[in-house]
C-alpha cells in the first residue's frame, strides 16, 4: 500500500501546483472579464487529466527512474576516484561523459513540457516544424550541454566564461537563423529543464563535485542546469539553419535540372 500512499501524496502536491494557476485563470475569466467559458466541462475534464497524468508520471519516475539514475550517477562518479580513474579497466571519465550525454538526451525526449511546446509548434507552423525533429534537436543540445558542464566540473573552470561564450554564439547565430525559429529556439532553452531532467542532472553534478578532490558540491555542483538550458537554443537554431539550407539546395538542384 506504499505505492497508493505515494500516489495520494504526489497527487496532493500536484494539486497545490495546479490550484494557484486555476484560481488565477478562472478567477480572471469569470470575475474580471466576466465572460462565460465555452465548453467548460470539457476543459475541466482536461485539467483533471493533467492532474492525474502528472501525478502518475511523477510517482512512476520516483519508483523507477530516480533511484536507479541517482545510484548510477553516484557509482560512476565514486569509481572515478576510488578506482584511480578506471572502472573495469576502462577510463571512467569517458563513461561519465557518455552517461552525461545519454541521460541528457533521453530524459529530454521524455520531458512533458517539451512535448507540449513541440505539439504547439507543429500546429502553429502548419506542420512545417516537425514535432519529433524539434524534440531531437533539443535533446542533442541538452546532451552536448550536460557533457560540457561535466567537463567544467571535472576541470574546475569558472562557469561564467562558458555561459558568456555561449550567449555570444547564440546572439551571432540569431542574426543568421530563419526569423520564424528564433523565438521558439529561445523558448526551448527554458522548457528542457523540468520534471525528468533536473533531478538526475543535479544528482550527477553533486555526485561529481562531491567525489572530485578540491571541488565543493555547493560551489561546483550547480550550473549543469544552466548548460542544459543554453545549448538547446543553439541546436534548435542550427536545426532550422540546416533545414533551410537543405531546402535551398534542393531548389538549386531543381533549377539546374529544368
Amino acid at each position: 500500500m506504499n505505492l497508493l500512499q505515494d500516489i495520494i501524496d504526489t497527487g496532493l502536491a500536484t494539486l497545490t501546483d495546479i490550484l494557484p494557476i486555476a484560481v488565477i485563470i478562472f478567477g480572471f475569466r469569470l470575475l474580471v472579464l466576466r465572460q462565460p467559458i465555452a465548453g467548460l466541462g470539457r476543459i475541466l475534464a482536461g485539467f483533471a487529466y493533467v492532474l492525474v497524468g502528472l501525478t502518475l508520471f511523477l510517482v512512476g519516475l520516483q519508483e523507477a527512474l530516480f533511484p536507479v539514475g541517482r545510484a548510477m550517477a553516484q557509482q560512476l562518479t565514486a569509481h572515478a576516484i576510488a578506482g584511480g580513474g578506471t572502472l573495469h579497466g576502462r577510463t571512467t571519465y569517458l563513461w561519465i561523459y557518455l552517461f552525461a550525454a545519454a541521460i541528457g538526451f533521453s530524459t529530454t525526449i521524455a520531458e512533458p513540457a517539451l512535448i507540449a511546446v513541440a505539439i504547439k509548434a507543429r500546429q502553429v507552423s502548419a506542420g512545417a516544424i516537425d514535432a519529433w525533429g524539434l524534440r531531437i534537436a533539443v535533446a542533442i543540445g541538452v546532451a552536448l550541454g550536460i557533457t560540457l558542464g561535466v567537463f567544467r566540473i571535472i576541470t574546475g573552470t569558472p562557469l561564467h566564461w562558458y555561459i558568456i561564450t555561449g550567449y555570444t554564439i547564440v546572439i551571432i547565430q540569431s542574426m543568421f537563423a530563419p526569423r520564424t525559429i528564433i523565438a521558439l529556439a529561445y523558448d526551448s532553452g527554458g522548457v528542457t529543464t523540468s520534471t525528468v531532467t533536473v533531478p538526475l542532472v543535479t544528482a550527477l553534478g553533486l555526485g561529481l563535485a562531491g567525489s572530485i578532490p578540491g571541488r565543493s558540491p555547493l560551489l561546483d555542483g550547480f550550473g549543469l542546469v544552466a548548460f542544459a538550458s543554453l545549448f538547446p537554443i543553439m541546436s534548435v537554431m542550427a536545426y532550422a539553419q540546416l533545414g533551410s539550407w537543405w531546402v535551398r539546395r534542393g531548389q538549386f538542384k531543381h533549377d539546374e535540372q529544368t
Binding site: 505505492l3 501546483d17 494557484p20 494557476i21 484560481v23 485563470i25 480572471f28 472579464l33 465572460q35 476543459i43 482536461g46 485539467f47 483533471a48 487529466y49 493533467v50 492525474v52 497524468g53 502528472l54 508520471f57 510517482v59 512512476g60 519516475l61 523507477a64 536507479v68 548510477m72 560512476l76 572502472l87 573495469h88 552517461f99 541521460i103 533521453s106 525526449i109 521524455a110 512533458p112 513540457a113 512535448i115 507540449a116 511546446v117 504547439k120 502553429v124 555561459i163 550567449y167 547564440v170 546572439i171 540569431s174 542574426m175 520564424t180 523565438a183 529561445y186 523558448d187 532553452g189 527554458g190 522548457v191 529543464t193 523540468s194 555547493l218 550550473g223 542546469v225 544552466a226 538550458s229
Partner: protein
Amino acid sequence: MSLRRLTGSLLSSTRDLLPIVLVVAFFQIVVIRQPLPEFGRIVTGFLLVIVGLMLFVRGLEQGLFPIGESLAWAFARRGNLALLLIFAFALGFGTTIAEPALTAIANEAATVAAEDGVINHEEKAMQDYAIGLRITVAVSVGCAILIGVLRIIRGWPILYLIIGGYLGVIVMTLFAPPEIIGIAYDSGGVTTSTITVPLVTALGVGLADSIRGRNPMIDGFGLIAFASLTPMIFVMAYGMVTG
C-alpha cells in the same frame, strides 16, 4: 476515447520513454554490471510513467491549450491593456511562488549563504533568506511574462530584448558575489514548470493570433524565454543586496 486512439497514444508515450529505458539498461549491464534491485518495482514505475504521460498529453490538448488560447481571445475582445498586463504579472508570480523546484533551490541557497557567513547561521535568518529569494524569483517571472506579453502586442523583435537580457546577465555576473552565480543561473531553469509551459505558450500564440499583423510563429513564442532569463538577473541582484 476509441480503442484505436488509446493504443495510438499509449504507443507514442512508450516511444517517448524508450530512450531512458535503453540508457538505464545499457549502463546497468555494461558499466555497473549488477542486476537491477527490485526489478518488479521498476517495471511498475515505468508503466505508471507511460500511462501518466498519455493522460497528460490528452489533458494538454483538451484543457491547458484551449483555456490559454481562449483567454488570449477574451483579453483581445475586451481590449483593456492594463488588465491584460495585470493578469500576465499575476500568472507569472502565482505559478512561480508555489513551485516545489524553486523552494528546494531557495533552501539550498540559504544553506550556502549561511555557510559562507553572508547571513547568520540560524534557522530564522536562513528561512527569511529563502523566502526572500522565492519572492525575488516570482516577481522576476511576473515581470518576464508582463514584458513578454507587451512585446507580443507591440510586435517588438525578440532578438533585441534577449540581447539586452543577456547583457544584463553578463554585467550582473561581473559584480555579483561568486556564491550566488551558480544558483542564479540555475534558477532560470527551474521556474518554468510542466503546467506553466503549455499554458503560457498557448496564451502567447493565442495573443499573436488575435492581433492583426502579428505572426504566431515569430511573435507568439518567447514568453518562456523571458521567464528563464529575468530570474538570473534578479537573483544576482538579490545576492548583491543581501551580501
